[in-house]
């Protein structure tokens, strides 16, 4: 599958609410197809079809264990160590830019200082 075809398959796979929900579940951990099917108000065959669409798009992998088909998210499979370090780098860049923002704020030590003295008291005003 070339890049464009893959993108088409991804967008098609993600264009359906149930498939997005299935993908969320299998990215968090392996699920059997029957467990997934029990989570939706639709037939086993319909859920199986959704799983197959995600599998064809390369977003999910399946393996068999006895009579069970187990599905898990497969976003990681295509990544090399270099790409992984780049991803980690973006996490670190986020932290560094948050530190940069934080230190640009007034020193938090100053905030803990006693409040400034109240403004000089106004001369009493005439009550109506």
């Amino acid at each position: 599958m070339d890049g464009e075809d893959r993108a088409d398959a991804w967008f098609h796979a993600l264009s359906d609410r149930t498939r997005r929900d299935i993908l969320r579940r299998v990215l968090a951990g392996e699920h059997s197809v029957s467990t997934l099917a029990a989570s939706y108000d639709m037939s086993f065959a319909a859920v199986q079809k959704h799983v197959a669409v995600l599998e064809r798009a390369g977003l999910l992998t399946k393996r068999r264990q006895g009579r069970e088909a187990l599905a898990s998210g497969d976003v990681a499979a295509v990544r090399s160590v270099g790409a992984m370090l780049t991803e980690l780098e973006s996490l670190w860049r986020g932290r560094i830019s948050r530190i940069d923002d934080l230190i640009a704020e007034p020193d938090p030590g100053a905030e803990q200082a006693p409040p400034p003295p109240p403004p000089p008291t106004q001369p009493p005003t005439q009550e109506d």
């Binding site: 993908l23 969320r24 990215l27 992984m84 370090l85 780098e89 932290r95």
Partner: protein, 162 residues
């Protein structure tokens, strides 16, 4: 942007990032020494971090969790190695299983060396993180991928709901 250099060492599975901050090392140290400041920078805005225990001392332990937009908590810990205020510290960063912060030994631990040196009136910070294996690196990112992908998928959900 304060990041001045990034090095990926694929063989050693090490990521090194150098950043220049416009504040003295003492101020950068305070960010790590104060749990309230640390939690503002450690987690991304969508996954804010909460430090439950914070002991930036040799052999000290930091326990924290990150909260997903759905309210799910991901637990983690630091085990502090050496501490040299305000010049830097070392720690191991790992995942925990639950709110008792029991170590999750199935997931990898990274070793980290943070160094803060005075430079041109500010601070040159060097962050070095090392992972034991490619599998370890992958497992760490998978945790992030779950977060990132869920966020991306939720955005699509929001978009199509309009």
């Amino acid at each position: 942007m304060p990041v001045t250099d990034v090095t990926h060492d694929l063989d050693a599975r090490t990521l090194t990032i150098v950043a220049d901050f416009a504040a003295p090392p003492k101020r950068i140290w305070e960010v790590y020494a104060d749990p309230r400041q640390l939690e503002r920078v450690w987690g991304p805005p969508t996954y804010p971090a909460t430090f439950v225990d914070h002991d930036l001392a040799p052999g000290g332990r930091m326990n924290y969790y990150m909260t997903s937009p759905e309210g799910e908590r991901y637990y983690g810990y630091w085990e502090v190695g050496s501490v040299d205020e305000p010049s830097g510290f070392t720690f191991d960063d790992g995942f925990a299983l639950d709110e008792q912060f029991t170590k999750n030994t199935d997931l990898p631990v990274s070793t980290n060396v943070f160094t803060f040196v005075e430079h041109d009136g500010g601070t040159r910070a060097t962050y070095v993180g090392t992972y034991a294996s490619a599998e370890a690196l992958q497992a760490v990112l998978d945790m992030g991928v779950v977060e990132g992908s869920s966020a991306a998928i939720n955005q699509i959900d929001d978009l199509v709901a309009e």
